[in-house]
Symmetry: C2
DNA sequence: CCGCAAATTTATAACGATATATTTATCGCG
DNA sequence: CGCGATAAATATATCGTTATAAATTTGCGG
């Protein structure tokens, strides 16, 4: 009632003497209500395009909202609705795998584009338990969903998130009985194909540098590798002292040592770009020629290897696509809580 | 008064029959007030360690808070105080400079560690005006401060942010009359030193690949380069068709063409890792030998070039350090609004 | 032109915290 | 014993939004 009387307030839209375009009205629903002579509730629903608000009213409100530059206060929405409109990407330490995070983030932001969702980066510091970031996000209600990488066979994060029913998508699989959503690259196929390529290129003894054994994808790679070498009956070796997470310098030295042994491998599978370069450097330092003395297949996740000479055989993993898929799946999961089975995406090579 | 009576409520801490450790009380100030028999206000201030709350009370509140797993609701705090406890990093498109974003993010998260601040990534899509992300962040009150990169001499973002008095730190400088905070690498020195190195290595004609001309640091690099070549009276060339932002493939082709000309340059300065690799690839394809036929100095921002063979001369820019500095400066700026001069940090080589 | 349903709009009460102003308890001192 | 000063705690209002329930207006058959 009393609001009705205030309809004329619209004329006081710029009461202060200010240059046009710098309206100093506070852009809130309340202001909007005063300007339109409607109730705050009505304005709110009008902007939400609620069908029970007359079309004409909705349009009018929308017009005035635009005029005063109204944008809903995310904090207030968040407090009221309980939704943060945020998803969190847990960034693991030691991800020197060049551009790993960047590619994924690029894909993610593409997936979030046009949605109200934002991406916050939650770091996982190497001196703290892996569960910390996840716990932190849940307890502080920091996000509506979580993304993380480097999944382990019996991943505690997965267990906890499943237990709490908190939306998440992980990059990589577990070996848990319970199904859960994930996005993964077919690292079995990668290693298998890589081995096949090396063998048909003439390599006579293969070597693979694996990720740290605690990660599920290390098992997949090993399995793919083992299957290929066994099928072909080719001698092989698994780089022992060193993993894809090792410092590049260490990898190079380890590979140098390996190449100095009697009957060293001549075919190398590197699951990352840095390890590939380190292996190449070791071979170079050893005076070995890539393509004749030794062969190498690397996993490529950036445009980098297109510029490496001598040319290196690579298998491409599209991390931006993985990020985009993870983002989309997570949003879907947050919105509808669908069956897990729909959400298990395996990016094949 | 009536609250006093409720002191006994502490015994109803877990009224439901639930396994210990899964308290289902809502962890809010209200709950805490009921449990302690204090007023909500008191609890709030107790947790804030306000001196006008008795020490004994503060400790008691803190104990109970811990017991029920209380953590303040960020949305509520944000709504009430107007602070978001968020800083936003605007990620530019086309940052293929491997790990550029990752390094910076790593530094940033290190700087934010232990603070209540979070990092959100606001993408700047290449098909939208550069001002959009900044406008977006300010109007939606998405963050308390903004970080961005690739600063231009007359950067619109800087102008807008200064005008609005919104806290920000940019990576790179402007040429605006007004002072403003920034963190920058000394790209003048980089190019100057690189040219000196090439000349003393025996290069007789220099070439530099610059960033797109719209960025301030392109001017710095050019200036450093020009100063060095003029001082030494050495012939030079500036890669014309191609910039550090060009696709690596294009850079390689351009360099290949350049090397095919009569009396081509034999000393190259590459402001980024990708362009360096592309240049090396072009030389390789041309049959030229690095270190004798041609010389190259690259800017290194990752451990990558330590594994590149033949070895490449590099000058290191520590982007993680830059990120950390930017983070710290921004927090300081948000907190105290200090003099700009304290906030202008130039990372020298 | 009454009355009842459908179409609109509104009032009220949260969400969980904090700023401001006030009240109540405690104490020293004349 | 009472007074003012200090210490400690409290009440109230508010941030900007939305969910719920209630109220009003409108339309239309009878």
């Amino acid at each position: 009632m009393s609001n009705r009387k205030k309809r004329g307030a619209a004329s006081t839209l710029m009461p202060q003497t200010r240059p046009y375009g710098t309206e100093d009205v506070k852009p809130t629903l309340k202001t909007l209500a005063e300007l339109t002579g409607l109730a705050v509730t009505t304005v709110s629903r009008a902007l939400a395009d609620a069908p029970q608000i007359a079309l004409e009213t909705r349009q009018r409100v929308r017009r005035v909202a635009e005029e005063i530059g109204y944008f809903p206060d995310r904090a207030a929405q968040r407090l009221r609705t309980g939704r943060t409109n945020v998803i969190s990407l847990v960034l693991d330490p030691h991800e020197e795998i060049l551009g790993y995070a960047t590619s994924m983030i690029n894909g993610l932001t593409e997936a979030l584009r046009g949605t109200p969702y934002h991406l916050v980066i939650t770091p996982h510091f190497s001196d703290t338990p892996p569960l910390d970031p996840v716990r932190y996000i849940m307890r502080n209600r920091m996000a509506d969903g979580i993304l993380f990488t480097r999944t382990e066979p019996s991943d505690e994060r997965v267990k906890l998130l499943l237990e709490r029913g908190f939306p998440f998508i992980c990059h990589g699989r577990t070996e848990l009985a319970t199904q859960h959503p994930y996005v993964d690259f077919d690292n079995y196929a990668f290693a298998y194909e890589a081995a096949r390529k090396l063998i048909s290129a003439g390599a006579r003894k293969l070597c693979i540098i694996l990720p740290p054994d605690r990660f599920t994808f290390a098992h997949h790679m090993r399995h793919g590798f083992m299957t290929a070498v066994r099928e072909a009956g080719v001698p092989f070796e698994i780089a022992g002292d060193v993993t894809l997470d090792s410092k590049s310098e260490e990898i190079r030295l380890a590979m140098f040592r390996l190449l100095s042994e009697t009957s060293p491998p001549d075919g190398f599978i590197c699951g990352g770009e840095v390890s590939a370069l380190a292996t190449m450097a070791a071979a170079y330092d050893k005076g070995l020629h890539l393509g004749s003395d030794i062969h190498l297949v690397a996993k490529q996740t950036s445009g980098l290897f297109d510029q490496i000479r001598p040319r290196v055989e690579t298998i491409y993993e599209d991390l931006a696509a993985a990020g985009a898929t993870m983002g989309r799946l997570l949003l879907r999961r947050i919105a509808e809580q669908p069956q897990v089975s729909e959400l298990q995406v395996l990016h094949s090579i």
